[in-house]
């Protein structure tokens, strides 16, 4: 067991640090959360910078440890996060890299890496959330195209996306996990309507996407027809893997800020609150160690994170909610003020136990896949 960098890792870390110190001061100010075109441009611009400096493919081609160092150092330096590039870099990109043809990789991967195209994820439907395989959006073959009709919901970044990784039902007769197909749908195709949905925090982070006879070329299919469920499982394990590693670093920074604020406003003198902060400190130290542990396991087994991603996701999403509840205790009455950044973060933390598989579903996955308990449904 060794927690220190290898010489190559240390060299990568040093080079990255130096580069971040040089470029970050020159970045334009962050756009406001409601300025979607601005956010798109900002996030793509950052990816472009990474690309030009040779860090474009760190999310997939690099070793898991290198990726972790990247996430740790960029977060510590306060660099932008993937933002609107999330699906491209962490879902669709890795899926295409693993399952796509040479032609498809050539068409879609470079624009993601160069920060030219944004992707969104069209998986969930009104009737298919936790039970994703119940999805009903229908694709019918018509010559060299699929004709797609149905609706998707909770599609993050749909308004600014160029492409959608879309799950459709190609065989309604087959058992539900078969008969699903993975398509790359251009978001400017005729027949697509995007209706933004407001979150409880007041912003439009996600949308409903209505599809009315949308033609998607058969050439945009990744994997075989009716084999989309297997293709999807590859993607989902990425989502629950290292995707949150940078956030753990960010949470530890917030925790430090909470201690500063508490000492300033006097609430540090409340021993109950002080110990709560102490416990959270333990929590986030451990979550960071768990991340390192999982990354080393992934390194040994060849990269794809397994059910251990669920262990992390479950624990982390609850820790994040406790962090911002504690922030509220530190703020006192000011926790009701939306102009305090922690207030909005507290609201958005509420989605962490729902998005990307609810806590209840994560418990099921752990019980079934790790503990081998009988399936309940």
């Amino acid at each position: 067991m060794d927690l220190s960098d290898t010489p190559e890792e240390a060299a990568f870390r040093a080079r990255l640090r130096e580069w971040l110190a040089a470029v970050l001061p020159g970045l334009p100010p962050k756009p406001s959360p409601d300025d979607w075109p601005g956010r798109r441009a900002y996030d793509l611009g950052w990816q472009r910078r990474l690309h030009d400096a040779g860090y474009a493919d760190v999310h997939w081609d690099a070793s898991p440890t290198t990726r972790l160092i990247f996430l740790e150092e960029t977060e510590k330096a306060g660099a932008p996060y993937v933002g609107a590039n999330f699906v491209g870099l962490l879902h669709a990109g890795p899926t295409i890299a693993a399952e796509g043809t040479a032609e498809q990789r050539e068409r879609w991967l470079p624009p993601i890496l160069r920060g030219e195209e944004v992707w969104c994820q069209g998986f969930s439907e009104p009737g298919a959330g936790s039970d994703l395989a119940a999805l009903r959006t229908r694709a019918r073959r018509d010559g060299d195209a699929y004709v797609v009709t149905g609706s998707k919901i909770w599609t993050s970044h749909a308004e600014v996306a160029d492409w959608c990784e879309l799950l459709v039902r190609t065989d309604p007769e087959a058992p539900k996990h078969r008969g699903i197909t993975w398509l790359a749908m251009p978001m400017d195709a005729p027949g697509i309507t995007v209706r933004p949905l407001r979150t409880l925090a007041g912003s439009a982070e996600f949308a409903e996407v209505f599809l009315d006879e949308v033609r998607v070329p058969v050439a945009n299919r990744v994997g075989d027809e009716d084999d989309g469920w297997r293709v999807t499982m590859v993607t989902l394990s990425f989502e629950r893997g290292t995707a949150f590693a940078g956030e753990v670093v960010a949470c530890r920074r917030v925790l430090g800020e909470l201690a500063v604020e508490a000492r300033k406003n006097g609430r540090w003198d409340d021993p109950a609150l002080r110990r709560r902060l102490g416990r959270l400190h333990a929590e986030f130290r451990a979550l960071w160690r768990l991340t390192q542990w999982n990354v080393s396991a992934a390194e040994a087994t060849g990269g794809v994170p397994g059910a251990s991603g669920s262990v992390f996701k479950l624990r982390y999403s609850h820790a994040r909610q406790e962090l911002y509840d504690t922030a509220a205790a530190v703020l006192g009455p000011d926790c009701l003020d939306l102009d305090r950044p922690w207030t909005l973060d507290r609201l958005s933390a509420l989605s962490y136990t729902i998005a990307a598989g609810t806590s209840q579903i994560q418990h099921d996955i752990i019980a079934e896949r790790i503990l081998g308990l009988p399936r309940g449904r």
Partner: protein, 359 residues
């Protein structure tokens, strides 16, 4: 011992529930949120002006300050509710004007209807034009108000009945300074306490405008704490209903999600907290004992906040939307946890009570 509602109390609860449902239904709630929120969820800084002289409070008018004209007082059980008009609201040029900040408004028509119903004059003696009921009844009525998310400074106006002219009848909207916060300052005709230096903040609850004032320590009125606990109890009751409704109706994997033990247990846990809090709140209303009131507050806060969160979880993605009503309950519950010094004061009071009992 006969620790249960009397027939009259049950009738009172059903009566006000029916009137509130008619007077402030789901549609009215939605409209009120849209109105408050339309002012701009985004920008808030402009309105952060100080509120000069907002503190010319009515505290000076003193308790029991003269007979109130509680017009038509006492028709709590019944037919007192007027039409549900949006009218009657004077253009609220409250002190400090709320330009830029979300402008939630007190619906003056609703306020007068509440007055006519006896909501504010509930505990005033009949000889003073009040309804002549006590804390147990007040708690029932405030729980119903909490359940419906009724907006406005309900507790402050109720406590001002008999002391501030027009409060009992709902002619006057009364706000009160509470620790470092004032709810509904700009909409109030009368502000009790010293609100000098008040600054608007961008409230997390679209239906509770808030101002920050320099915190001044003042002993909290136990009745205010109890009525807040009653409102929390109402919220907890409502989110329990919503969670169970959704768990019955929403299907995944070919069955209602409530059939999954994880979801069923979340719902059951909400109910356990509701029932425990209810017993604590009702008992405190009977005894009026500060320790009972502090206990009621702690239990009711927990039932409301955790209940709303578990309800949100049961709703899945739907619970995270603005359109769903769940977040409004959570946000209101969070606002109420800040009243009267927050839970810390109640915990300290109970610890001290324990120490003196065992000394």
């Amino acid at each position: 011992m006969r620790f249960r509602l009397t027939d009259d109390q049950r009738a009172l609860r059903e009566g006000v529930r029916e009137v509130f449902a008619r007077r402030f239904d789901g549609e009215a709630l939605r409209a009120a949120v849209d109105r408050a929120d339309g002012a701009g969820a985004g920008s808030g800084s402009e309105g952060r002006g100080a509120v000069p002289g907002a503190g010319d409070g009515a505290d000076g008018s003193g308790p029991g300050g003269g007979a109130q004209h509680a017009a038509g007082g006492g028709s709590v059980l019944g037919d007192g509710a007027g039409r549900f008009g949006s009218g009657g609201g004077r253009p609220a040029e409250g002190p400090g004007g709320a330009g830029g900040v979300r402008a939630a408004r007190v619906d003056r028509g609703l306020w007068r209807d509440l007055g006519e119903l006896g909501f504010f004059a509930l505990r005033l003696p009949e000889s003073e034009g009040g309804v002549g009921l006590g804390l147990p009844e007040a708690v029932l009525v405030f729980a119903e108000a909490g359940r419906m998310l009724l907006p406005g400074p309900l507790v402050a106006t109720h406590l001002a009945a008999g002391a501030v002219p027009g409060a009992a009848t709902g002619e006057t909207v009364v706000a009160a300074v509470d620790g470092g916060l004032v709810e509904w300052l700009a909409e109030a005709d009368v502000v009790r306490g010293d609100a000098t230096g008040a600054v608007a903040l961008r409230s997390i609850d679209p239906l509770t405008p808030l101002h920050r004032v320099p915190a001044r320590r003042a002993a909290a009125d136990p009745v205010a704490i109890l009525l807040t606990a009653a409102e929390q109890l109402g919220t907890a009751t409502r989110v329990c209903e919503l969670a169970a409704q959704h768990a019955r109706a929403r299907e995944q994997f070919g069955r209602p999600v409530g059939a999954f033990q994880a979801v069923a247990h979340l719902c059951a846990g909400i109910l356990v907290r509701v029932e425990t809090a209810r017993a604590a709140v009702h008992a405190a209303a009977v005894t009026g004992d500060p320790a009972d009131i502090a206990a009621a507050r702690l239990l009711a806060d927990e039932a409301a906040v955790r209940g709303a969160r578990d309800c949100l979880q049961v709703h899945g993605g739907m619970g995270f939307t603005w359109e769903s009503e769940v977040h409004l309950h959570l946000k209101r519950a969070w606002v109420r946890t800040q009243r009267a010094g927050g839970v810390t004061e109640s915990e300290e009071l109970l610890a001290a009570a324990l120490a003196s009992e065992t000394a």
